[in-house]
Symmetry: C2
DNA sequence: TGACAATATGGTAGCGCTACCATATTGTCA
DNA sequence: TGACAATATGGTAGCGCTACCATATTGTCA
């Protein structure tokens, strides 16, 4: 009786038999049709159609030692920041044989470790990871993986392999400087559950204001809840209770800024006359809001685009000019911080 | 000299040699540690650690004929609707051996066909696809795949296998009825680039208003651009030019509703007194807006959750009670449509 | 026409696992 | 203690491809 049962579907061998050619010729045609004569090509194509043959990527990956997988580890699936980058990565691999495999670390370092190890098991062609705060153990694994690794969103001291992002310290400095230049002085800070990048921005806010004697603990309102527009409203409400004389607010992100705007509107506080508002990321809605909201534009799509581009360069054997790309940021000044 | 070079990493055979056991025993231990004696188990565990062994899922999948992959095909990666469902799917498979593979069809039926065929090539354990409008060819492929298939977001006549969603016709009817009940009569419609679900809602709007003699072409403003808050502002502006006496607007989704609100604010049009606004999906920001925005809550997370749940039931060999699950919807009435 | 290169095609073995079966070891009972 | 079942372990072959090499066919030039 039959030993091992296959998948039941047509294999490359079935196609080869049907077309009366060798299996390797079918394999060759699938990967580079120009290497096969017209006669055999059309015969094979016909056989593929009539047998409804679909190649098995895992068998290919096993035989060639190269999985056509690009792994991506991000901390959240419902944040536009990461969604935009994911979109760019998907766009970038479109038309190539590569598949994108997404891991959601949920802002949990242990889960990140687990997923890095799991993903490396797939022998992916490359790996993209959010941030630069991986554990020592994971960094070791990634360094030894022998594949292109791209850390995204932030640039730091010593990239594992490549990093593409921006300096969140510089961005935060620009935000504070902008508010000061617009004559805001009693500057608060609103933030929900933070990732390392947000933490660096908050720290920079403190470092900027303290020497100017403008730092006041009661103007900083934080929560462990995850970020949302409603959360922004609640934080703003709290801030107005703690320190009603606050004249501007740095928001950890745009959702919170939008919530802060709604809270001001509901309390009849005029933005920007009585309250300046600045967000971070420059989501599309920021320019549509009334009044329009100042934010710091971070090109999240470009980060993904460059990541894929650099991975492909690397896979072709090219050595990158630079292993660190600062994509910068742009402070988009709008009505919410424009006075006088 | 060496024939074929492996990946260079430790394999199950390396672990077996190191631990002085058979390869199959290592395999067994990895899948069910209870099947191996304590003595061997600890020896194998030690060898795995010292060799830094990571199992190769594609070799396992090839040998067992079962890929631990659940494929998901959605039309967009930067829309919260799909992101929420994806999150639920990722949450649902956490702790299982399953991996989620995402395909982005970009609202393109041809791309959907291509991806369905490509994904089936992976021999996934199951497939989740958005909508019920797959091509005849794809439906055929999916029916013959012999794996659980879940169509999500919408319920229709004859599911390929299972479908989980809601009736967009019923939802649209509820929206119109609500506006009529609140004494709105000159009801407009704003929509950006549409998917089949949006189209069904728009058609329902027409079907509802025509018999009441309340349908007026100039109150329907559409665009092919992709949906955004700015797009909502532009559509609202256009509508106010076309038909300034419009007293309420049905928005194809919440982004457009928010944009419409901002446009009204900027023109000094009072919501809801002069203009009623209703969105669709009930994004989190709808309750935070000022005035708060009426919307139709669709439980996108639950759709993903149920999809995974039902797939697991099916993979365990259970036969589902129903192959169609209507998760319903809830019209959340807020200030933007509450008059009198 | 013959020598050789270029092109087209195929056979075999192996990628790293697990299904399937076989065998060794231990436990249980009369 | 012997017969048998239960448990633990291992060997071999095969999943569906492709790397590597070999060979057949065609084209080119003197």
């Amino acid at each position: 009786m039959g030993k091992r049962k296959g998948s039941g579907r047509a294999t490359i061998t079935d196609v080869a038999e049907h077309a009366k050619v060798g299996a390797i010729t079918v394999s060759r045609m699938l990967r580079d049709p120009s290497k096969v004569s017209d006669k055999l090509r059309s015969r094979i194509e016909h056989s593929i159609k009539s047998l409804n043959y679909i190649p098995d990527p895992k068998a290919r990956a096993l035989a060639s030692g190269q999985a056509d997988i690009i792994g991506v580890l991000i901390p959240s699936l419902s944040n536009i920041v990461f969604a935009d980058t994911l979109r760019a990565i998907h766009d970038g691999v479109k038309g190539t044989p590569y598949q994108v495999l997404i891991g959601n670390t949920r802002y949990d370092p242990q889960e990140e470790d687990r997923l890095i190890s799991l993903f490396l098991g797939h022998r992916p062609a490359a790996l993209i990871v959010a941030g630069i705060d991986q554990s020592e153990k994971s960094i070791q694994l990634l360094r030894n993986a022998g594949i292109p690794i791209v850390q995204i969103y932030e640039i730091g001291e010593d990239p594992i392999d490549m990093s593409i992002g921006l300096s969140h310290i510089a961005a935060s400095q620009a935000m504070i400087e902008h508010l000061l230049a617009q004559d805001f002085r009693k500057i608060g800070y609103l933030a929900a559950r933070m990732d390392p990048r947000m933490e660096r921005r908050l720290e920079t806010y403190r470092n900027k204001l303290k020497p100017l004697d403008l730092y006041d603990t009661k103007r900083v309102v934080l929560t462990d809840k995850s970020s949302s527009v409603n959360c922004g409203r609640a934080l703003m409400r709290q801030l107005l209770e703690n320190a009603p004389d606050t004249d501007a607010v740095v928001c950890a992100n745009d959702d919170i800024a939008l919530g802060a705007l709604f809270e001001c509107q509901s309390q009849g506080i005029s933005v920007p006359d009585q309250m300046g508002l600045i967000g971070f990321n420059d989501f599309e809605m920021m320019s549509a809001a009334y009044p329009s909201l100042t934010s710091v534009r971070t090109n999240r799509y470009k980060i993904g685009e460059l990541a894929v581009e650099n991975i492909f360069h690397r896979l072709k054997g090219e050595i990158p000019q630079q292993n660190q790309i600062d994509i910068g940021f742009e402070l988009i000044q709008r009505d919410s911080t424009t006075r006088g």
